[in-house]
Symmetry: D2
């Protein structure tokens, strides 16, 4: 069957929602992010039969930022086991900001609440096998390669520039070390975490990862199992309950697609197979990658969110649709 | 097709997990709850073709307690409109306890975070139409009747006894009034909320409500639309992200079924239609009602949770299974 | 010795600092307060030999508001004993706002932190002897009469109007009731507290109370003991550490006089006997009453604070001056 | 006049309160502190005429720990000016623990609340002049030398051992850096702070510092001005309102002497000149140093506090006594 009608539909929506980019602002806390084109917008849908439905900026490379937390968690579960990882990080959503430390202090003993906030992600990065930073980051890159088919590049400027201003994340890492939730040297864990954030991808790459998560952790093209079914389910659950910063609840309620965003404007989303009763035109599921660097007050791509909501409603993609 | 094999399977699991009741304790803050039989355990699955699969205590009446928050939200959305309700309450999960007030004070202007915690539920109860308590509670009871086919009874002892010790909830209601998030007299809103908590149901009743939510808000037997599809999706999303107290994230990750629990030991769960790729034996969805008054540290039925996890794993019922 | 030079000096300062009233705003949350003259400013110093040094609006009646917390505490200690009172309220300063509830929830079991914030004052008001509101408030009024020589009036409009909007204080009272720190019916305790806030005084009255606290609890004219020396010391300590809302630390550091303010613009201050090494012209101490209804962001009289700082510096009145 | 009666009285009290050491525990988070003799107890009173009244362990060297925060603040004010210091740190008490970070996050922009908690002390240490750690710590040691007449030693084991476990303080320092309240490199500021904590003193040394603060910042023997009168008053005020951890309010109320404690069991206290009306036998003031390494739940020397309260009551030393 031809992709064309959907492709055209997607293109039409993209044209509409591109105007939404004006409502947001490009993240400016590091120069590399500030140079992004605020009007950029792109989306890729990757189907299990290898077909792509795309519109807009789908070949622009951008850094993963918080989207990397998903792959960080997958890599740690795959190498250390889900049970070991969950001894060190909980899976509960919070209403706090992504870089909050309050809950670590109030809720003793200070186990980070979930792997989608900075504290949890740093704890998880520390769990990656290896005594040093290099070995740990290699495990992340290997997981990336297995998902997207190539070893991605770590953007050296973004990495260097984030390390220089990583005061809050350093504070978090030292705090975790002090309370026994950092199974690595602070600088090693921090370097791994910041390098992961600086990994470059396109919307197509994110769509590929999303498709694997949509298929219970199996690569739909090669059939290879990337993570266990249980890990895939936990990852999807974490994206749905905690993936979109403090708009996670709203995204779950009004879009209903497990998704993880980053301040660079990327969104990775996973649409599993749905009941044939829904009007979803892709009953075998799909992965979605979005790029729109103008972000809203929560840190999510303004136009990206609008586009996802349009897709979810028009194509009946919510996990809660039955 | 005969229900018998599933019935027998369910009975076998119930026998196993009944021993888990010893790990929990019956809620004691009001005498009526303290008199519950701690070993009680029952479960009902209600299928869209009207068939029931059941085991254990499925005819015991117990008070809804926090499970009523689901119907409270449905009734308010149906009568006032989803948009109006969401002006007064957010849909974001928190990691705080169900009766917490901290977030109201820290996050100005103090809009309650979601309708599944006490603050949000009291705000929602106040929105039910009518100038007085009686009219408001009638809207709740009408919604109940439309879902379960009979007008349920409000347990007068439980109601009276909860009103007497409702200090914290009164504090919350007055706080909400002070910050502009209580669209009723404090005593009216509180009475409605506490009466809702005291409504008596069986597991079968909860399963019926669950099935409606599993079917996008339509009554699968009568075909009647009970709430809009959008309201049903938001309700399911709220149950998944905030329905099981501070174990909501864990329930989403390891069970993956939208569910709402109460301290009386009830759980209402909604399993939507799933993709035929899953091994779920009920591809057309089902509603589930559980009763097990021995609760854990979070406030959830210990054996009930174990039973639900068994079902979800054995029958591939997770919303994240694809 | 003649008062004239000090009187003239005081008048000169008052003229200077009256312009500071423009930096503040009159409290508006109840109409009665909003009608105050924002430019009003008055100060009374009461010496142990009965002499008064005054300038400005010293005969205007205004409601005590939070200044009443001082007399509330004195009355409870005198009638129930200091030890009994301190079983129910701590004496620790907090950095939270006067009507905060956060600390009650975070620090179990929820004993209010000190009698100078609303939660603590409501707990203390509940401890006043008597089964009903009337008996309790009578104990407060009796303590007032012993201090100022007349039974003051409760402003009925202010009382009625504060009761109508006392949502937050009602929330606090119900919370305290729920955690076992309210030894009275909620409405009784609240009525007593709000009536105390509505008691009318002049700067002269406040100066008289201040002088008693400056003299270890004895009335310097009559020689009558009003409260024990220990109670007087604890009261002065509470004023110094917690009496000026979230500017208490700054007031202690830069003024160094135990003082309690209210949103009506009143300040009660107590200057004890000082070492003859200081240049304080009133080595036998004095009581100070201030009225300046234009308040700053903390809730303290803008011009009143400036005037007190001027006095403290010029007349070497800080308790930390040696 | 002979010291003997007081000396004997002090010795008698020391004998009584030494049994209180059994109620506390020696701090164990670093080995050097854990080796302290839990029964040790000593006290020195230093009078302006150079006389000493002493009892118990007054020549044992112990590390200053948090007591150093007082001299840290004095040194920074003397070298950078009080105004500059107060741009970077507030003077408000909090009810939070000494190593809390919650308030930095909740109260934007994150200015530390006072110089007596870790966050504030690290900010103040960073303000000491010099580009590197060595220059900064030299300013602290110079201030110490001016107060106690000798250059004290930094205990190298305690310093090294605290640096190794300084995770929480590192977290605080990085947090401050990120929010603009650390005017130095993180490691420099941290090293200065930890070295200050490791400075060795005796009770006699602390009494000398206390006497300077009791005399408005002048050395009573040499007549030399050590800090400005304003700085001395602010320091005394900070000790009274925030010097004894979360028992600061209780210490102010029931002892009424500006004091700063450390987890090594030291207490520095300052008793200014008092009115001749009091029965204080030392009307010209005194400095007090206490050492009793068995500490209570707040971190204060159990027997030291009891001894101070005895002195304050028997010798009428409270700043609130008049």
């Amino acid at each position: 069957m031809t992709m064309q009608p959907w492709q055209e539909q997607l293109q039409a929506w993209l044209t509409i929602y591109q105007s939404y980019t004006a409502k947001g602002h490009v993240a400016t806390y590091i120069p590399a992010l500030a140079h992004a084109n605020p009007q950029a917008l792109g989306i890729s849908l990757y189907l299990p039969d290898h077909r792509l439905i795309e519109a807009g900026d789908t070949t622009t490379l951008f850094t993963m930022q918080s989207v990397s937390k998903v792959v960080n968690f997958m890599a740690a579960c795959e190498t250390r086991g889900l049970a070991k990882v969950l001894e060190n990080v909980d899976v509960e959503p919070t209403g706090d900001s992504f870089d909050s430390m309050i809950r670590l202090e109030i809720h003793k003993p200070g186990k980070p609440f979930n792997p989608m906030i900075n504290a949890g992600a740093i704890t998880v990065a520390a769990l990656l096998p290896g005594d040093h930073e290099q070995q740990k980051i290699d495990h992340f890159l290997t997981m990336m390669e297995r998902c997207i088919g190539r070893k991605p590049r770590i953007n050296p400027e973004v990495y260097a520039s984030e390390m220089k201003t990583a005061h809050r994340n350093r504070a978090i890492a030292h705090y975790l070390k002090g309370s026994g939730y950092l199974d690595a040297e602070v600088e090693d864990a921090l370097n791994v975490y910041v390098k992961e954030c600086a990994v470059e991808v396109t919307t197509r790459d994110l769509a590929k990862i999303g498709l694997i998560l949509a298929h219970d952790g199996c690569h739909p093209i090669t059939g290879e199992r990337i993570v266990t079914k249980k890990t895939a389910q936990v990852t999807n659950s974490l994206m749905l309950t905690c993936g979109m910063y403090n708009a996670s609840g709203k995204t779950a309620a009004f879009i209903g697609i497990p998704a993880k965003s980053g301040v660079s404007g990327g969104i990775l989303a996973s649409v599993g197979r749905r009941s044939p009763h829904t009007s979803n035109p892709f009953p075998d599921g799909c992965g979605i990658g979005v790029y729109g660097p103008a972000i809203d007050e929560y840190g999510n791509s303004v136009a990206g969110i609008a586009l996802l909501q349009q897709l979810s409603e028009a194509w009946d993609m919510s996990i809660f649709s039955s």
